[in-house]
């Protein structure tokens, strides 16, 4: 099995040089993306086959470090993430067959795209620390190349710079983590790390390092700063991959190390994970609410979902440490299901944003509006994505959040008091983030697609091409199916939890009416299918009855608006004014938000002005000082650049003496 997966990766890697050769030709884009589509579909099938029955398979190749070789392995966890990566990859390729036609500089995108897909697959397959880190860095660098594909825009270059720094930091920290895991013998095989037993203290240090390393890639607060810059800068199908899939590869890194390699966790390891998860979820969505750039809003919102996933993972750690295997399986299933769900609807939403960007040339929601009339199909699929990501039934986002809530409700059985008090608070944060997410997507959809067009570009938008639409329709269908038949997807995760926890959630597929019952029916159950059928039925019956029995007449007229409709579209609510109540309630403390109104006195002819000031306190507290320090140190050390040859020689000599002294001691 692992061999077929690796050959798929090889095929993707080979596509990169082919893309370089072909890039001059007209059909290069279609050809490369279509080949990527086929290969990723095959890889999805390989992952599926492994998850449904095929046993773990591994292989070692004589590559890389001579005394280590390169090891690859396909077990249930890798197989699940292979599926996530390649469903994202396949739909992104399908979307790009149409989208890529309009790419202004295909030579900067095409060669890196297959390599990037290959890199993500390799991370998931790697079975020793060296290959893992190599693949991780390869994934980072190829995605960086895609972020700066449109380097003419200053913003993108800056985003690329910050991204490169953070990616380097992440890999460095992971390097230390693997160093600690490998111990004094330097055994970097995952197999031998698994059997070695670390003491809890070293384990905790590894946990912190992994949280920093994998967490910075996934985008946990406060390491998220690069994410909303880099993800929107890339072409939209790559944004979808970065936000929907690469953050999940980072989650894979966390799960692999913490649940698999580290062995039995100590109960207090879960505290930082839960706290960070809760804070990340709320901060991510609050940041998202303050944005009016559609793609940046989506990128910030990824931060929120990573928080939700980490809440699930933290709960699983807590339950696992206390030997509550069934509850741990529930929490882990919730987290991993959210990994899958988020990859689906985040890709869908980024595709929608890409379609809008292509049609109007605008990412700023304040310049959009009324697109539901011009792009009805894109609007429909984008709406499905919005409902799904806001965790509303009957779509898939709700199922994973509901399972997380069910895991939270089991927390009173935990014996440790710290967790007893922490988990309900995290639950409240989760509910807060879910409600704010709904607000955020009412704003995203309402301002971009509803209302009246705010600019000429939005008035003249055209519906996007059929390939892109096919990709989006497919993903919205997955959102609905995973929402109404969640039992199938939960059962799919059973092998994964079996390997990591030792048990799995009760088998769901055989239950009456396809209900899902996480623990026991007397405790809680949910049936997405029936909810969907009931709502659809009662809605249609109501529509039928009213049209038949009462009235079906419609007259078009001007908007009412309490008698004062204004024909100018700038009198509509904007993204910023929609967020005003929330900004006022939460933003005054979180962002030090200030509203400054400048009203001219009566009789004056100058216009009134209104400005909003927001401060990114995390950036000011954590990033700006480091940047300032580096700047300061660099300026001070700058003198070294302009020394005479004598001084250089003296410097070199004294350093040599110093090093010898150090060696001697």
């Amino acid at each position: 099995m692992v061999i077929s997966a690796l050959s798929g990766v090889m095929a993707l890697l080979l596509l990169s040089p082919i893309a370089v050769l072909l890039v001059a030709s007209q059909r290069a884009s279609t050809l490369i993306y279509a080949s990527c589509l086929i290969v990723t579909l095959l890889l999805t099938a390989v992952g599926g086959e492994c998850l449904f029955g095929q046993p773990t398979s591994s292989i070692s190749l004589p590559l890389g470090l001579p005394w280590l070789g390169a090891h690859f392995r396909l077990d249930a966890l890798s197989a699940f993430f292979i599926i996530v990566v390649n469903i994202g990859g396949a739909t992104a390729s399908l979307f790009a067959i149409g989208y890529g036609e309009r790419e202004s500089s295909p030579q900067r995108v095409l060669p890196f795209y297959p390599a990037y897909l290959a890199g993500m697959n390799l991370v998931v397959l790697a079975d020793d620390a060296f290959s893992f880190l190599l693949a991780w860095e390869f994934m980072s660098l190829t995605s960086w190349a895609l972020v700066v594909a449109h380097h003419q825009e200053r913003e993108n270059l800056q985003a690329g710079y910050v991204y490169l720094l953070m990616a380097g930091f992440g890999t460095l920290v992971l390097l230390f983590a693997f160093g600690l895991l490998a111990g004094n013998n330097g055994n970097y095989l995952f197999e031998s790390i698994r059997t070695a037993h670390l003491n809890a203290g070293v384990g905790a240090i590894v946990l912190v390092l992994v949280l920093l390393g994998a967490g910075s890639k996934a985008g946990i607060v406060p390491l998220h700063a690069w994410l909303p810059l880099a993800h929107p800068a890339a072409p939209s199908h790559v944004s979808a991959l970065m936000s929907g899939v690469m953050t999940k590869v980072a989650v894979y890194g966390f799960v692999r190390i913490v649940f698999d390699l580290l062995g039995m966790p100590a109960w207090w390891w879960s505290i930082p994970v839960l706290a960070i998860g809760g804070i990340t979820a709320v901060m991510g969505v609050l940041y998202a609410l303050m944005q009016h750039d559609l793609k940046r809003l989506l990128a910030y919102h990824t931060v929120e979902n990573i928080g939700i996933i980490f809440i699930g993972l933290g709960l699983a750690l807590a339950f696992k440490a206390h030997g509550m295997a069934v509850a741990a399986a529930l929490a882990l299933t919730a987290g991993l299901l959210h990994v899958f769900n988020h990859s689906v609807f985040k890709s869908l939403l980024f595709f929608g944003a890409g379609a809008v960007l292509n049609a109007t040339g605008e990412r700023d929601m304040e310049h959009l509006g009324g697109l539901i009339h011009r792009m009805p199909q894109t609007a429909f699929v984008f709406l499905v994505g919005c409902v799904a990501i806001s965790a509303l039934p009957p779509f898939n986002g709700f199922v994973s959040e509901w399972l997380t809530f069910q895991a939270i409700l089991l927390s009173p059985q935990l014996p440790s008091w710290g967790l007893k008090f922490l988990v309900p608070a995290v639950g409240a944060l989760l509910a807060l983030s879910a409600a704010l997410a709904a607000a955020c997507f009412v704003k995203a959809f309402g301002v971009s697609f509803l209302g009246r067009a705010r600019t000429a570009a939005a008035t003249q938008a055209q519906e996007t091409d059929s390939n892109s639409l096919a990709a989006m329709y497919f993903l919205s269908a997955v959102c609905l199916v995973a929402g109404v038949l969640p039992g199938i997807f939960i059962d799919m995760l059973a092998p994964v939890t079996n390997t990591l926890i030792g048990t799995s959630m009760p088998h769901q597929a055989g239950l009456d009416w396809l209900t899902i019952v996480p623990v026991a029916e007397s405790r809680s159950s949910y049936n997405g299918l029936l909810v969907f059928v009931f709502v659809a039925m009662s809605g249609s019956i109501a529509a039928f009855a009213i049209h038949r029995l009462a009235s079906d007449k419609i007259r078009r007229g001007p908007a009412w608006d309490c008698g004062y409709p204004d024909s100018s579209p700038i009198t509509q609510y904007t993204a910023s004014s929609f967020a005003q109540p929330i900004r006022r309630v939460y933003g005054t403390s979180v962002f030090h938000a200030r509203e400054i109104g400048d009203m001219p006195p009566p009789g004056a002819t100058r216009p009134a002005h209104f400005t909003v000031q927001l401060r990114d306190l995390i950036w000011e507290a954590a990033y700006a000082p480091i940047g300032a320090f580096v700047e300061y140190a660099a300026t001070r050390l700058n003198v070294l650049q302009f020394l005479t040859i004598r001084r250089y020689l003296t410097l070199v000599f004294s350093v040599l003496v110093l090093l010898l002294l150090v060696l001697a001691i």
């Binding site: 009324g370 709406l383 301002v447 029936l530 608006d561 579209p569 609510y573 004014s577 109540p581």
Partner: protein, 318 residues
């Protein structure tokens, strides 16, 4: 045979809530008017309003989209399904396990999501003000609601409303401080969620003070009737949840016969009447608060929920 009976009972519940929702509003309005020494509308006025709106033609704004026309049906259907799954006169109805309390609240959140979108569809400023305030209030109410669910689940060990109601009737619970706190918090959340005084004034048409009414300002005719009916159903949802969790007496058990069901129905209607009187008395005695006072109000509800949970941790019997 028993399957047919179960279906019939579930159907009865659906029609019963649909029938009772306008009546409940009627009771509130009559009592409110009497407390203000007005004559007030007759009890059946809400039905007449609905019938009148249903018969009228719909006036749509020129740029209203298809979504605007679909949303009333979605909102109505979602709310109706949510109320139909709450135990009212009998626990353990055929489909009672379809959704637990968390899922029901999420279903109502779906309805609100679409209604907020409708507020933005025509592109007027009043729609926007209503939608943006509605989602702000929801973001405050939902964490509080979750803490209440948490407290209740700690006592009962379930989030399944039928199981919870049965457990509460069984007498195994007794009087608890934490349940009292949860009840208080639930009442506060219900008031906020249903746009009642002091959070929002359902009868106002003074533009700057309205939230829910501003959001649905562009609706008319049968669309407006459906949205009104949906908000009446939503109010009934919260009243029924409070009734089945905190005053569950009289509710028929799953194995009860015709007699038990009759008692259940009578007690349910009686509970609604009492609830309506209390709501009217409360609304008459208090003034509407400013929009930006709402966070403090709902923050208090959240704290009450949290306090209930903590009390249960400290002592299982409180």
């Amino acid at each position: 045979m028993s399957v047919i009976r179960d279906f019939a009972l579930q159907g009865t519940q659906m029609l019963l809530v649909l029938f009772l929702a306008p009546l409940f509003i009627g009771i509130v309005r009559v009592v409110k008017a009497r407390l203000l020494r007005r004559q007030g509308p007759p009890l059946i006025q809400p039905y007449r309003d609905l019938a009148r709106l249903m018969r009228k033609e719909v006036v749509l704004a020129h740029n209203a989209s298809w979504l605007f026309r679909v949303i009333p049906y979605v909102v109505f259907a979602g709310t109706w399904v949510a109320v139909s799954l709450v135990p009212t006169f009998r626990t353990g109805l055929l489909f009672s396990w379809t959704a637990d309390l968390i899922a029901l609240i999420a279903l109502l959140a779906s309805a609100r999501f679409f209604l907020a979108l409708a507020g933005l569809d025509v592109g007027t400023s009043f729609g926007g003000i209503g939608s943006s305030r509605e989602v702000m209030i929801a973001s405050l109410a939902e964490p509080a609601m979750l803490m209440i669910v948490f407290t209740l689940a700690l006592v009962v060990g379930s989030t399944q409303l039928s199981v919870m109601a049965a457990h509460m009737t069984s007498g195994a619970v007794g009087l608890r401080v934490s349940l009292g706190l949860a009840l208080l918090a639930l009442i506060m959340v219900s008031i906020a969620e249903n746009a009642r005084i002091p959070i929002d004034n359902p009868t106002t048409h003074l533009e700057l003070t309205m939230v829910h009414e501003a959001m649905v300002l562009e609706y008319s005719g049968r669309h407006l009737a459906l949205i009104d009916l949906a908000s009446e159903l939503k109010l009934l949802f919260y009243v029924s949840v409070i009734a089945c969790l905190f005053v569950p007496w009289g509710i028929a058990p799953p194995d009860g016969g015709i007699g038990a069901i009759a008692v259940g129905m009578a007690s349910y209607v009686a509970k609604l009447a009492v609830g309506g009187v209390l709501l009217a008395a409360f609304e008459t005695s208090i003034a509407k608060m400013r929009v930006f006072r709402v966070p403090a109000f709902l923050g208090a509800a959240l704290m009450l929920g949290l306090l209930g949970t903590l009390l249960l941790f400290v002592s299982g019997s409180l």
